[in-house]
Symmetry: C2
Subunit: 280 residues, 2 copies
């Protein structure tokens, strides 16, 4: 069956979901996106994803041509048209067509795309444990752009290709100072003496939605939290470590570069707290 | 008149020059480009531009689906079809359509686009002198990706927007260590006590084609050259400074952030040497 794609206010079959070669998303990665888990017919954490998209759009000075509730209605129609209740929804916003050159001047009609993709099958009875490698590709520390989900993702593409080549499940991205920033599609957490630690946004970590959920769970549980620099050695020596990502939720890190990590009982507590968060 | 665009082996009118919303160039900026000056019907420094594209494609593991001579023939046809002899030729190469996610696995049909755009009118009798600002947006030092002209150019877009807002001609991009990397579309040179200085590639400077030409002119003239770190203060204190870019050639820097720079007589010597380089 041909998938329907939302493109600038219309629903079109995927083979007609096309943009100009002069779209600045294609020319320069001049845009933003969100990857949203859809479960039981509803996009999860819609408000948080939209808020991050809006913050990025404000930073890049791209005017989103639809309101959040219009976008939410379009997303619901897209799910209905494709007869899907569990999926990953990708929302893409670019600056649209512009003249040659970096100047955004004159690019006034942003492009909005929404498309649906298969979601991973997560079995709550059999929590995943992933093997990671450390990528040679890095991200910048102290770069304001890393706090948004921009379409400039070559470092992540290269890191993911390194993980594929090593038959690993994910790749750790270090930042320009050698500390851990994030994984390609996930935030990184570790547990040290009962404290739940994760790199701060200035380290190059995307402020992930599931990352925010886990921090909220910690607050509810009264578990101490630290947003701080984490070196690769500190991660290896931690009492346990995990990833957070919208598609999978919480995923334990089993090993990094072939070195096995400890498993902390606190992880189960966090997972149970996470499962109890209100959906939506 | 409708412009013709080269798209994956075909010539199509610009309104039909479209790519899938699943093209990884659009999704992640997963691609490369070149901006080539066309003068008297011929793309200048074709071999050097193609070599840089090939180096980038090898690094990103994107297989260019045409040989350099096939691409050169297509470029000549594009110029003929559009009846143009002076222009800027943009060549874009992306990884093509792939599945959702950063992994490049399965994206096996790269996209190639060539399009023509107006070239600046350069008057040799009236050499340009540009006013620059220093952008707040930065580029990474020691990032292997900065040595290629990738489609991840949000820092450059933001810097160029800062220049526009300040009514400046160009924006200086500092790197993550605070030294000068480049300008958005140009390399930066300065002259210090008779030495022609420019930031090295590890500083985040694109190895520009005109930059290479100027270094060759220096060698021919016996002018000493240093690829080295240049701080903003060192640039301001230099005996003269200039930009190099394919579209304009050599452009003197008149001022940075409202502070006027000195003018070195060596610049005229370099300009004369540059004009004498064989075309092609």
């Amino acid at each position: 069956m041909t998938m329907q794609v939302f493109l600038n206010g219309q629903f079109v079959p995927e083979e007609r979901a096309v943009v100009s070669v002069f779209d600045r998303g294609f020319l320069y990665g001049d845009g933003l996106f969100e990857g949203i888990r859809v479960s039981n017919g509803a996009p999860l954490r819609w408000a948080q994803h939209l808020a991050r998209l809006q913050r990025g759009a404000a930073f890049l000075k791209i005017k989103i041509p639809f309101t959040p509730s219009e976008l939410q209605n379009f997303a619901a129609q897209l799910l209905a048209q494709n007869n899907l209740r569990d999926a990953m929804l990708r929302v893409t916003l670019t600056r649209g067509i512009g003249a040659r050159g970096y100047s955004p001047k004159g690019a006034e009609q942003p492009t909005v795309v929404m498309s649906l993709h298969p979601a991973p099958v997560v079995e709550p009875q059999k929590p995943p444990r992933w093997k990671l490698i450390t990528a040679t590709a890095r991200v910048s520390a102290n770069d304001p752009l890393t706090q948004f989900k921009t379409c400039n993702k070559l470092s992540h593409v290269l890191a993911r290709a390194e993980a594929d080549a090593a038959q690993a499940d994910e790749a750790l991205l270090l930042n320009s100072t050698g500390n851990i920033a994030e994984a390609t599609s996930a935030n990184v957490f570790c547990i040290k003496s009962g404290v739940v630690c994760t790199p701060g946004v200035a380290e190059g970590a995307l402020p992930g939605i599931t990352r925010g959920d886990v921090l909220e769970v910690c607050r509810k549980l009264g578990a101490p939290v630290a947003e701080e620099k984490i070196s690769p050695a500190q991660l290896l020596a931690a009492d346990g470590a995990f990833l957070t990502l919208s598609s999978w939720g919480i995923v334990e890190i089993a090993a990094v570069d072939g070195r096995e990590l400890k498993s902390s009982p606190l992880l189960e507590t966090l997972r149970a707290g996470f499962a109890k968060l209100p959906p939506g």
